[in-house]
């Protein structure tokens, strides 16, 4: 009971931009370093060690970025939707900033997933693009990210921009399970999941290891970049807040 109260009070403490700012500053270099190390290890295994795939040849090596990027594109959107709930429900400032801070990274991963997918599709399927459910819903995700970013920059009033953005993040989240389950629900050209939580992966050991390392590297990268961006957002938005004004007066 006592620990849960302590945990909750700590959570509220770090939900304030002024206290989260230095915490984010201390944390991001560690996440960035982990991202670099894990990405180098993942790339070494994926590009140098893992054997050629029997059916897809070496074109399959694109999946070491394609799959982690696609996972990240969906997951970041869900995290944005989570912060959207906090923003709409509790009107917390930091949650709105986190939501905004994640969007460009989510858009970047969605673009990478689409681009690498096209480059994988051409040699494997014989086409850069098909309008199947998986590809189309991922493209919609890309437009949702772009729409979110455009909306945020189009509305001058920060609070209104936050609430409008939160609404887009929340409504758009419906698309994420559609992307994920599209290969099951519809007869898509896109193959089904190679890695799932409920059964053994249908991949060679080194292939799986390379992909998991790249996936964790993408996580670490996303966290590092989101923390750096939220710090920029905090100083941009809080420039008139007492904790920043007092520090300026000391100069």
């Amino acid at each position: 009971m006592a620990t849960s109260t302590a945990a909750r009070s700590m959570l509220f403490r770090y939900a304030s931009p002024a206290t989260f700012y230095p915490l984010a500053g201390r944390l991001w270099p560690w996440f960035a370093a982990a991202a670099v190390v894990l990405a180098l290890a993942g790339l070494a295994i994926g590009l140098l060690v893992a054997p050629t795939d029997a059916t897809q040849g070496d074109a399959y090596r694109i999946i070491f970025i394609h799959v982690p990027a696609a996972w990240m594109s969906m997951f970041i959107y869900l995290v944005m939707a989570f912060y959207a709930v906090l923003t709409l429900g509790f009107n917390t400032r930091l949650s709105a900033m986190m939501m905004r801070s994640l969007a460009p990274t989510g858009a970047m991963f969605t673009f990478v997933a689409l681009w690498t997918g096209a480059l994988w599709g051409k040699p494997t399927w014989g086409t850069w693009w098909v309008w199947d459910a998986r590809l189309t819903s991922e493209l919609i995700l890309f437009f949702l990210y772009l729409g979110f970013i455009a909306l945020q920059s189009a509305i001058d009033d920060t609070r209104r921009a936050d609430r409008a953005g939160a609404l887009v993040a929340l409504v758009g989240a419906v698309n994420v399970p559609i992307i994920y389950f599209s290969v099951k629900w519809w007869n898509t050209l896109h193959q089904g999941a190679s890695v799932s939580l409920t059964r053994a992966p249908s991949m060679a050991r080194d292939m799986l290891l390379g992909m998991l390392l790249m996936a964790i590297a993408c996580w670490m990268y996303s966290i590092a970049v989101a923390l750096v961006r939220v710090r920029a957002l905090i100083v941009e938005r809080e420039r008139d807040a007492a904790w920043l004004r007092e520090a300026g007066a000391a100069d």
Partner: protein
């Protein structure tokens, strides 16, 4: 873990899929670099404020 390739040429050729594999990895690298550079530019623009905010917590 042994390296799969027998020569640098083989590695670059990627079994004939070099254009696709390196096209994917190259553009991904550019996308990541673009995001990192954009963030650095943003941090530089808010530089004085950032310094002030960092100092607020050091004191």
């Amino acid at each position: 873990m042994p390296v799969f390739w027998t020569s640098v040429g083989d590695f670059l050729a990627m079994g004939g899929y070099g254009v696709y594999v390196w096209g994917a990895y190259g553009v991904t690298t550019l996308a990541v670099l673009a995001e990192v550079m954009a963030l650095r530019g943003r941090a530089r623009r808010s530089g004085p404020l950032t310094r002030r905010a960092d100092e607020a917590h050091r004191s």
